[in-house]
Amino acid sequence: MTPDRFFDLFSALEADLGGGEVLFAGLGAERSDFVRLSQNRVRQAGSVDTADLGLTLIDGARQVEGSCQLGGDAAGDLGRARALLGQLRQRIAHVPDDPFLHYSREPASSERRIDADLPRPEEAVGTLTDLADGLDLVGIWAAGDVVEALASSVGHRHWHASRSFNLDWSCYLDRDKAVKASYCGFDWQPEQLRHKLDHQRADLAVLGRPARRIEPGRYRAYLAPAALQELMDLLAWGGFGLRDHRTQQTPLLKLATGEAQLSPMLTVIEEHKRGLAPGFTAEGFTKPEQVSLIEEGWYQDCLADARSAKEYDAAVNAAAEYPESLAIAPGDLATAEALRQLDTGILIGNLWYGNWSDRNACRMTGMTRFGTFWVEHGEPVAPLAVMRFDDSLYHLLGDRLEGLTQERELLLSAETYDGRSTDSALLPGALVSGIDLAL
């Protein structure tokens, strides 16, 4: 799908509108190659070509939504879009006024293209399997074009296209002993891949030592950026949304009301400008460059989508009420010093399957996974058998936070449930004086 094709399709629909009707059209499209690997061989290879058209028809204070798949031929796509618009027109007569209807009345346009010179899947996967020779590598190569676009009868014309690759993999030693890495971006450089695999080979050498088993209890720990990401991903589930705050469901309620505080070292920002997600919302609003969520441990702003903004009389500052481009401000701990300051404890490379133990207490549970080591005198000495943590962020990022690293990692989401995600996070590592392990 090209910008001309999409905007031409919209113009044809717009010509059908009645006097009081307003129409918003969103496009979500991708053309992706997916190659799954296991045991450093191809498990499943294929490609996906999708284009989903979403329409919102507004008439007075009423609105209805619908979507359909576009097939690729202009006449057929226009026919499907017109049919959908006709169905929405039939439905809108039967729905009541929507007091929270909210869309941008200001025409705006933007175009952002992030291009890449991608290798063909056979070249990328061939290079990977060669470089990983001898390793038990399992993972996925995902690459291609992702498009999000918006047009409206108000006058919005936005086009956001990116071409990228995301190689997400783990190397296994035995059973659940593994290290994980990813290599993603726009400029395919096999040398960078080689460097990452060399680093994994070194970690696998430590993983080969007998695993250390520890009893449940509280342990000093260093959480690598990928481990911190799991905590922040869970916190994103209801933590920052305006609706979650106004209905008192946010796990950060005690922070928002001043009953609890997080560490003064913690500053959390939604960085729309830095992120890879579109800079516009489905209702035509332009996102601000950034939203300060937590500043030096105190709660600041919520993320408000158009509907909540109308309901609670706030400004729209997000497409949805969860972070898409989260960042935590760096600290003053050099990453190279982190294990020395940890001294004896746990190096947690990744956490996995986080969920809430008690949202009221911002208490979460999850598992250690991938590259988690027992550290003595600042040196990883043995892999750690997987352990379950159950602890509150008011402790982990509050009174037990000893430091955040100066260096941060940009972590691009490998999620593909609703198409290839454009979410990302820019995170430091975190040194904590204690994390409670329960099982």
Partner: protein, 492 residues
């Protein structure tokens, strides 16, 4: 293809058959091909705090082409169902097959071939279209209003949804499997906030997905359940925390669903056992040598794979590889019998499995999934099990789930707990949770409810696979009693 209706109120099997015929007439030269055509529609309605949310309709129609050629297996998905579009997809699939042939994990000769001809239709007594949009919104408005208990309830919602999937699978071996799945689901949620404590209770059918039509609303009891849901949300805010310690645990079917799903269903998936899922969903503590001998649970534990139960959410005639579905035991009298794996995984592992290669949509390839994984009832009534507990907690409706990548160490929480003391049910407790290890937990099973206590439920968000896929999975279970479990409550 006709373009007259984007979100068709009726299935269009004739259109899919015409596309399939055109594809077969110009089929690509290869060792074997399949074409899986999917025509899917959704409708979603919700009322929140007495305000209808924007109603939505959605249609998705597309094709998955699979090609086996020269020892390789590849796929390509497209929404362009024209002859040229499908031919282009077949070319892309052939290119992927060539990559697999060069660097593949297995020889594509192991790929299953199907010549099955069959059809399946969900049992629907009252079609979705029989009720007008205005009446549906009216029903939701009434249900939402019934959740109103004053300012202590801080958010109320009622919802209703419909999904219909028409799928046609054809192959170069003559397979022609035409299946139409139809689902109507509903739900209620009330969130209360009192003195710094927030609690949410759900009901109205929210965790009881199933196949069928509007007749399902009768059992969902959208209106009748509202008072209970709101009342319990308030009561939970005012209840004491669930006690912590080792004690007996009585799980109602609303939590057994999750317990079965996470610590029986997922560990038995053969692609996990083979290692395919290790980068994302994980592996399994189950190994092939355990099959036939491993004591998974007490002798009361009997679990089936049963995609034949009418109305259960993952019933079908054949899986997405075209393998006919049949009921088999996974665990019998506590002993592990077979894993959950489709034909390809079975051949790679040289093990028996199940017809469970499933895809979430037309744009994803089939992988090993659960379908309906059901726990077989025994003989006890719920009251009889309660009477056998000296000190314990009854837990109702899953709230939180977490389990390790081998599907062993788990921690689950429920919406509602109720103390059991000296054989009697006592007061509510809030934030109830428990943790354990799958390999030991099921051996502590000491009571299984009778057929009258069986409830057919399921989940609508079972995720795994790379690229990611989310599918519906059914679980039927009676309440079950477990001894000496690590139970805990909330708080910092």
């Amino acid at each position: 293809m006709s373009t007259a209706t984007a979100v068709s109120p009726e299935p269009r099997p004739d259109e899919l058959r015409a596309v399939a015929r055109r594809f077969a007439d110009a089929a690509p030269a290869c060792d074997y091909w399949t074409l899986r055509l999917v025509d899917e529609v959704h409708e979603g309605l919700a009322v929140r705090d007495d305000v209808p949310e924007p109603s939505s309709i959605a249609a998705s129609r597309g094709a998955m082409v699979t090609i086996v050629a020269d020892g390789g297996l590849g796929y390509a998905a497209t929404a362009d169902l024209s002859p040229a579009g499908l031919a282009a997809a077949a070319e892309r699939a052939a290119s992927a097959a060539a990559l697999h042939a060069r660097l593949g994990l297995f020889d594509a000769k192991l790929a299953p071939r199907s010549g099955v001809r069959d059809e399946y239709h969900s049992p629907v007594e009252q079609p979705w279209a029989q009720m007008t949009l205005a009446d549906k919104l009216g029903l939701l408005g009434d249900a939402c209003a019934r959740l109103d208990r004053g300012e202590r309830i801080v958010e109320r919602a009622a919802w209703l949804g419909h999904r219909r999937v028409n799928q046609l699978l054809v192959s170069s071996d003559g397979a022609h499997i035409d299946q139409t799945f139809e689902y109507v689901h509903s739900g209620l949620a009330a969130t209360a906030h009192i003195n710094g404590q927030t609690q949410t209770r759900t009901g109205g059918g929210h965790d009881r997905p199933g196949q069928g039509g509007l007749e399902r609303l009768a059992t969902a009891a959208l209106l009748a359940d509202a008072e209970r849901v709101a009342g319990e949300a308030i009561a939970l805010c005012e209840a004491p925390e669930c006690p912590s310690g080792q004690m007996d645990l009585l799980l109602l079917p609303s939590q057994m669903t999750l317990q079965i799903h996470e610590s029986i269903g997922h560990p038995l998936e053969l692609d996990r056992i083979l290692g395919d899922e290790r980068n994302y969903a994980g592996l399994s503590f189950v190994t092939p040598d355990m099959l036939g001998t491993y004591r998974y649970g007490s002798s009361l534990l009997n679990v089936t794979f049963d995609p034949t139960l009418p109305g259960e959410v993952a019933s079908y005639a054949a899986d997405d590889d075209g393998t006919p579905a049949r009921r088999v035991h996974l665990i019998r009298d506590g002993i592990l019998e077979r894993p959950l794996g489709g034909e390809l995984s079975q051949r790679r592992a040289r093990l028996s499995g199940t017809a469970c290669a499933r895809a979430c949509a037309w744009d994803r390839p089939p992988i090993d999934r659960m379908a309906n994984i059901n726990l077989v009832p025994n003989e006890e009534g719920l009251d009889e099990m309660i009477a056998r507990v000296e000190r314990g907690v009854l837990m109702d409706t899953n709230r939180s789930w977490s389990i390790d990548d081998s599907r062993n160490k788990f921690q689950f929480s429920c919406q509602l707990g109720r103390l059991i003391e000296d054989g009697e049910l006592k007061g509510l407790v809030r934030n109830p949770g428990y943790r354990g290890v799958s390999a030991r937990f099921w051996r502590s099973l000491d009571g299984v409810g009778n057929p009258e206590t069986l409830e057919v439920r399921g989940v609508q968000n079972c995720g795994k696979g790379e690229p990611n896929q989310s599918v519906y999975v059914g679980h039927a279970s009676p309440p079950c009693l477990f001894r000496d479990i690590d139970v805990f409550g909330g708080g910092l």
